[in-house]
Amino acid sequence: MILLCLILIPLIAGALAWAAARWSLSACRWIALLAVAADFVLTLVLWGSHSPAGLGTWLAEADWEWIPQVGIRFHLALDGLSLLLLMLTFFLGALSVLASWREITEGVGFFHFNLLWILAGIAGVFLAVNLFLFYFAWELMLAPMYFLIAIWGHENRVYAAVKFFIFTQLSGLLMLVAILALVFVHHRATGVYSFEYQDLLGTTMPPGAEMWMMLGFFIAFAVKLPAIVLHTWLPDAHTEAPTAGSVILAGLLLKTGAYGMLRFVLPLFPHAAASFAPIAMALGVAGILYGALLAFGQTDLKRLVAYTSVSHLGFVLLGIFVWNPLALQGAVMTMICHGISTGALFILVGALQDRIHTREMDRMGGIWSTAPRLSGAALFFALASLGLPGLGDFVGEFLVLLGAYRQSIVLATLAAIGVLFATFYALQFVQRAFQGPNTLNWRIPDLVPREGLVMALMIIALLWLGLYPRPVLDTFEPVMARIEQMAPGR
């Protein structure tokens, strides 16, 4: 039941918030905040109550019939991986509500409705263990996200929103086709229609078919992730979205892609995934380098941060397909930390844009002298982004690289050079926006307490993840171990 609550609370609160906005905007905001916070607390309770031994199996489960003829069930289940990602979801969700407190003034009710429904969709993605339900939730995230970008976005929002929608929808449909193919292969083998994850695990299939189906899933997740070549929706969407949208896109939506790889691509199609792994790893490394190079070339702050996501998620892709315990855990760690650090950067850039009405670095400079706390926070998260040891991102990336070295020395070295590239853009970001002379004489207010609280929470989270990540690592370790066991020849 608690799992259903996790999804229902934001759904209902979304409708409530919309309705409440008619008579009070702050009521609407508080409803949204409280709902997400309640969900966060629920996940914390779940985290606190699990026993270390129970981590290997589902921690909680909920299961109802839906369309029984074809084996479609409303089946939710939770393990360590999904638990952590859910915590991240509601953590960032609450922060994005806070970050939009002053930014959004038009259509407040509808905004929070969309925000909460996206969170519900994401929670559904992380919880679904029926492939139909998974696809349902996967698609459910899109429309509200689309609205978030298209209505509250910046100058070029319509283009960005439509591009985002079409990329994800097309790739999602390919995944649906793959899901259906898998179900029919399973049906032919067993005579039973089932979309259940557990049933479909270990379906025997001809190698060619397995590869095609794997590609169907892979493309859908690679678009979300995003892997290079399929990434071009991301900079546009991230740049044009309002702050909350960017935070959720970068912090959560991209993670659903990685989650899908871990949950579905590797376990369902181990052989195809193993033979495809070299290409996927190469894509990951190419993404690391290419994303960093592009980030270095940008002058629009949000675009810059967006391309850093391409780079960081390259590590995730690499780590997933390296497919050994080090790299897998590193990939998940990177997912979590990237969510926080990049989310924080987007909040900061949003706060800055709110104050000076531009995202062009050429029109900035010397912000530090007028808003030191904002600039200091930006420096901190830029450092997290460039992989400074002691902060969370480093742990993840180092583990990925360490694992990758076992598979391929060349790729690991190239990826390590990607970390070097991160220095370029991160320092460029700090230098051009916050340091240098204040030629345009900006006089802006520093972070207000609400924003300061958001930043402080994220800084603490990253430091904690960087210096004492063990509780987090231990939570998803059994899940990763199981995925690791599925690698062929192990």
Binding site: K163, I228, V229, H231, T232, P235, L293, L294, F296, G297, Q298, T299, P325, L326, Q329, G330, G366, W368, S369, P372, R373, G376, L383, L388, P389, G390, V395, F398, L399, L401, L402, Y405, R406, A412, T413, A416, I417, V419, L420, T423, F424, L427, Q428, Q431, F434, Q435, G436, P437, N438, L467, Y468, P469, R470, L473, D474, E477
Partner: protein
């Protein structure tokens, strides 16, 4: 006492945190008390620890303190743990103590600066990172400290952020050292992959037992670590960042870019000496890098006109000596030189800082002169520091340490006379540029009026360091005895040079440099000018002045292509694929919608045509 070890990095870290959070609202005094006080406590604790260590050495000569397991993934279990042996003890004590002096100095030097508390926050963070680096029990924690000091170096070089040049210098420093760090990171992967641990002591044992001398793994691992070391220690070919790093406040230059951080590479090699011993070619490369760097930097130092840049090149050059020592297996000689260098180079920077502040932030030595009487403390301390740097025989600390290195180079199995000759040439150069500096700044006519005289907080640390720059050398024998518990003895090759001969040669070289400087800059100043004026001289001067053109080269070969590629591809060429698809769809739209003419007969023709096509398919298939 030893269990308090963790406090040595923790207290400065706490200080940094306090200053970062509360600093902006603090008054200068409070910030200075916290900033300096935390280092003082840390220094005192490390002195106590040193005393405890010396009086009651722990078993096996090392003490390990594990705080918590940092990461735990399968067999990869690095801990936040500290390892104290003679080597790290010496380094830690020197670092905290010198840091303390420089903090005291800064409390006055930075007075009135807008970012006063920020400065101390960075400096404290630096000390915390540096001590972590030195005490790290595993390479990952070492890497944390390593990157941490790099970060602080970057932050402090660009401390006066409003001048873009400072920011540029900071970025250059960070990026260039990070190039080395990347190599080092790959080295870490290699070591973990092949030896299954990152704990330094375990690694050394495993390497010794698993890899034969000259094994490819050992060579690769040592070479990659060397990459990290040359980056951090500003050795060839990654030395170009250090001269630019002088953009930071002078205490920063003294602490980070002279006394402590830049010698981290030396420490790393000494710490992992087993690997280098297993990889003779790499160890020889260390010596060659050191020798080449000390010569190149010496020539460059002799042509600079910015007082801090002269000192920066001299730092590069002196670290070259340490590398030379490491390369020939004289481990403790390198560490000994590290210590004396920390004293006298910090001293030189502090004295230079006094001069610079006295002259309204004037850096050009040709606009200085005759300050001997105006700034007596600065003059005497600078003179002592300069003599130690140049190696004034018998009195100064620098003489003893450098002499030891030269003798080792001459007598090593790997080195031989070539390395020794390079070292000797370096001594001449060192003496030349040092006294050039002293003569130009403190002798001759008064060029710029003195506007500001240093207070006690600035002069006392300088005097203490001056004292240490002299007496530091006398502790050579106990020092070597102490380090022998952590580092192997130097192995002398038979039939080399005797110690007396080497000392005499070094003394002569010192004199030669001194005389040359005296002749060219005091006796006959036109000589230097005319030498620099003739075409060949000008060319050479420009070449040396610009650090042998390496900046220029790197700019053309690495920086511009990357910047060009990034800016040329700003719009992401991959996106044009999708733009192309969208364009194709729009084209199809235009073509197809042209068929919707609105004319009835045309529509009827379509239906008839469609039916003909259908018929055709049916009939001919």
């Amino acid at each position: 006492m030893l269990p308090l070890l963790w406090l040595v990095p923790a207290i400065p870290f706490a200080g940094a945190l306090t200053l970062a959070v509360l600093g902006p609202r603090m008054r200068e005094k409070a910030a200075a008390v916290i900033g300096t006080g935390s280092i003082a406590v840390s220094a005192v604790i490390s002195l106590f620890i040193a005393a405890a260590f010396l009086t009651a050495p722990p078993a096996a000569g090392a003490y390990t303190q594990t705080l918590w397991t940092w990461i735990d993934v399968g067999s990869f279990r690095p801990a936040i743990a500290f390892y104290l042996d003679a080597l790290s003890l010496v380094m830690m004590t020197v670092v905290t103590f010198v840091s303390f002096l420089i903090h005291v100095y800064s409390a006055e030097f930075m007075r009135g600066d807008e970012g006063y508390s920020r400065f101390f926050a960075y400096m404290n963070l630096f000390v915390a990172s540096m001590v972590t680096l030195l005490l790290a029990d595993n390479l990952l924690l070492l890497y944390l400290g390593w990157e941490g000091v790099g970060l602080c170096s970057y932050l402090l070089i660009g401390f006066w952020y409003q001048d873009p040049a400072n920011g540029l210098a900071g970025r250059k420093a960070f990026i260039v050292t990070r190039i080395g760090d990347t190599a080092m990171a790959v080295g870490l992967f290699l070591l973990f992959h092949n030896l299954g641990t990152l704990r330094i002591q375990d690694l050394m044992h495993a390497a010794q037992s698993q890899w034969p001398v000259g094994s490819a793994y050992a060579i690769a691992a040592a070479a990659l670590l060397l990459g990290g070391a040359v980056g951090k220690s500003a050795q060839l070919p990654l030395q170009t960042w250090l001269p630019d790093a002088m953009a930071g406040p002078t205490p920063t230059s003294a602490l980070i870019h002279a006394a402590t951080m830049v010698t981290a590479g030396v420490y790393l090699i000494a710490r992992t000496h087993v690997l280098f011993a297993l990889a003779p070619p790499v160890q020889f490369a260390v010596a060659v890098v050191g020798a080449a760097t000390l010569l190149m930097a010496g020539f460059s130092a002799a042509t600079q006109n910015d007082i801090k840049r002269v000192l920066a090149y001299s730092t590069i050059s002196q670290i070259g000596y340490m590398f030379l020592a490491l390369g020939v297996g004289a481990w403790s000689a390198a560490i000994f030189h590290f210590m004396t260098h920390a004293f006298f180079k910090a001293l030189l920077f502090l004295a230079a800082g006094i001069v610079i502040e006295a002259l309204h932030h004037e850096h050009n030595i040709f606009r200085m002169g005759g300050l001997r009487n105006e700034l007596p403390v600065a003059f005497w301390t600078f003179l002592i520091g300069g003599c130690a740097l140049a190696g004034l025989p018998l009195i100064t600390a620098g003489y003893y340490s450098k002499d030891l290195i030269l003798w080792s180079a001459a007598n090593s199995t790997a080195g031989g006379m070539g390395l020794w000759a390079a070292g000797m040439a370096g001594v001449v150069l060192t003496s030349l540029y040092t006294f050039r500096l002293i003569f130009l700044v403190f002798f001759g006519r008064l060029e710029t009026a003195v506007s500001h005289r240093p207070g006690l907080a600035m002069t006392v640390p300088a005097c203490v360091l001056a004292f240490l720059s002299i007496v530091g050398g006398f502790g050579k024998l106990p020092f070597e005895a102490l380090l022998a518990t952590a580092l192997p003895q130097f192995r002398e090759a038979g039939g080399g040079m005797s110690e007396a001969l080497a000392s005499a040669a070094a003394g002569l070289a010192f004199l030669a440099g001194l005389l040359a400087a005296w002749y060219a800059y005091l006796q006959n100043p036109s000589l230097a000018r005319s030498a620099a004026a003739n075409p060949a001289g000008r060319l050479l001067h420009r070449f040396w002045f610009s650090d042998w053109g390496m900046d220029w080269l790197y700019d053309r070969v690495f920086i511009r292509p990357v910047v060009w590629a990034a800016s040329a591809n700003k719009a992401d060429v991959i996106d044009s694929i999708y733009d192309g698809l969208a364009g194709a769809a729009a084209l199809c739209y235009r073509l197809l919608s042209a068929t919707e003419t609105g004319k009835l007969r045309w529509y009827a023709a379509w239906i008839a045509g469609g039916s003909v096509v259908t018929l055709a398919i049916v009939m001919w298939l």
